[in-house]
């Protein structure tokens, strides 16, 4: 017995020895690479030390315009190019100013602070010279590669949005879903505009999705079709979403008469719980049949909504609506911010993106309102044309704006629930539109 024990102990020791020897051998193989990292040091005078320190300061990196610093791209060496004089100096300063402007808008003006603060701070970090934070090994680059390059984070956000969405108002008055379709004209109308301005079809598609007024969808599409413009597209999309209360009301007023704005809508019928439960499945089934290309977005959305409406996994749906979406928002913001590096954002295209985005947004609002006017003409129940503006999918901001404008025209006229129908239909509509664009460039 004892002999056996000793024997096994010996055997173990032998195995341990040989494996450690093997490890040593292995180390020896990799060693040359490791030692090459270690710089050889030779004695320096104090002035030499000061000079070499100066070489590594940010001040020097910014003002010495031709230091040959490489562009930091999360995709790694494939895309690296030497930064030009402008990109590495004044470009950075301008970008840092833009970042401060975004901070101001988010904090003082309340523009989508939940996203603009992480995006802008990511932009600030991405513009630090020498630190390469947006490079493949930097924090922002790691985040970008982890969840944006593979479109994972936008889908998680969509899941959370699904878990937060109540389809009750849409189910109570399904016809209003068509308004959410009309507002997608913003996407395709501005697609034509963007090509007329000289963008190629793929870039134009990525930009025009801003008109869907849906942050995660915009990021999802931009990443597939035009990853270089991701930063500008995301910033434009979220800025315009924040500007909904400024952009939409003038368009809504211009396209409707006072009488139309004062139309009162009836009380919505109560919705059976089963309807709400089955709805996400129906949407998913339809998109599986018609447009599998859009199922990543709609699938995540339907899952979130189904978890909520099932009523038996409140813990999960609560996590999706709160902790998960919050965590992902931090990552998404920082990752998108990495695309605010001067060499990627300060290009002429960014200006075009901002302009086309604004047109897309306005066109979507207008198309929704016009569609609602037409529906009002032919419908038995009155439809207030204002709710068409909620067809852009900025949930729930545009529905609130509609309700506010409606209440201004006729105190006591509450359109919020009626506007929520087209609003959530807009989310589905822009996901479908995104699927169509993806299917074209397949």
């Amino acid at each position: 017995m004892k002999l056996k024990q000793i024997f096994t102990a010996l055997l173990f020791a032998l195995v341990a020895l040989t494996s450690s020897a093997y490890a040593e051998e292995h180390k020896a193989v990799t060693n040359p690479e490791a030692s090459s990292v270690k710089k050889e040091y030779h004695p320096k005078s104090l002035s030499e030390l000061a000079v070499s320190f100066w070489e590594t300061t940010g001040i020097k990196a910014i003002f010495d315009t031709n230091d040959g610093e490489m562009s930091a791209d999360p995709a790694g060496e494939l895309k690296e190019h030497k930064l030009g004089a402008f990109e590495s100096s004044f470009g950075r300063i301008i970008m840092i100013m833009i970042v401060f402007l975004l901070f101001y808008l988010a904090i003082a003006k309340g523009f989508e602070p939940l996203l603009l603060i992480p995006i802008a701070f990511g932009g600030l970090l991405a513009n630090i010279p020498l630190a390469h934070m947006a490079g493949p090994d930097g924090m922002l680059g790691v985040i970008y590669n982890m969840g944006i390059a593979n479109e994972f984070f936008p889908l998680l956000i969509f899941m959370g949005v699904g878990a937060m969405t109540d389809f009750g108002p849409l189910l109570a008055n399904p016809k209003t879903a068509l308004l959410g379709g009309a507002a997608q004209f913003g996407i395709f109308g501005s697609l034509v505009g963007a090509t007329a301005l000289g963008f190629d079809l793929q870039d134009a598609s990525a930009i025009s999705i801003i008109g869907g007024a849906d942050g995660p969808t915009s990021i999802f599409i931009a990443n597939r079709l035009a990853p270089d413009m991701l930063g500008a597209i995301a910033v434009a999309a979220y800025s315009y979403m924040a500007l909904v209360p400024v952009i939409q009301p003038p368009i809504m007023r211009a396209l409707t008469t006072k009488e139309e704005r004062q139309i009162k809508m009836g009380i919505q019928r109560p919705v059976h719980r089963l309807e709400k439960l089955i709805f996400p499945i129906i949407v998913l089934m339809l998109s599986i049949m018609v447009l599998p290309e859009s199922t990543p977005l709609i699938g995540a959305f339907a899952f979130g909504n189904f978890a909520k409406e099932s009523g038996v996994v409140d813990r999960l749906s609560d996590t999706m609506q709160n902790s998960l979406i919050n965590i992902v928002t931090i990552f998404l913001g920082l990752g998108v911010g990495s695309k605010l590096a001067a060499d990627k954002f300060l290009v002429l295209e960014s200006l075009g993106i901002m302009i086309i985005g604004l047109i897309a947004f306005a066109a979507g609002t207008a198309a929704g309102v016009i569609m609602a006017k037409i529906m009002n003409k032919f419908s038995k129940e009155p439809i207030n044309p204002l709710i068409g503006a909620a067809g852009v999918s900025a949930v729930p901001m545009s529905a609130r704006v509609v309700s506010k404008v409606g209440a201004e025209e006729r105190p006591g006229n509450v359109l919020l629930m009626h506007a929520m129908g087209p609003n959530v239909a807009g989310v589905i509509g822009s996901a479908v539109a995104a699927g169509v664009l993806l299917s074209i460039f397949k």
């Binding site: 849409l170 068509l178 697609l191």
Partner: protein
């Protein structure tokens, strides 16, 4: 050459628009129809169980008691009046 490309792009974009708006509307139209059908089916096979009216409405028991006492007092008073 560049000009020709631009023109083509715009025409292509117009085609995208027709396709895209068509698909979006078709999708939502079918969705509306299915949802309407669903609402009808559910209303038929799973009728809303109307909230039952409780047999004894809660909350007014104290009120009831007072009324009962008042009725008894009135009856007794009436009885005595008749007796005398």
């Amino acid at each position: 050459m560049a000009d020709v490309n631009d023109i083509n792009n715009v025409v292509e974009a117009l085609k995208f628009m027709v396709l895209g708006m068509g698909v979006v509307f078709l999708f939502l139209f079918v969705l509306v129809k299915v949802v309407e059908l669903q609402a009808k089916l559910i209303a038929k096979y799973f009728p809303k169980n109307t909230p039952k009216i409780p047999a004894t409405p809660a909350g007014d028991s104290a009120d009831d008691e007072q009324r009962r006492v008042a009725a008894i007092i009135a009856a007794v008073a009436e009885f005595r009046k008749n007796k005398s």
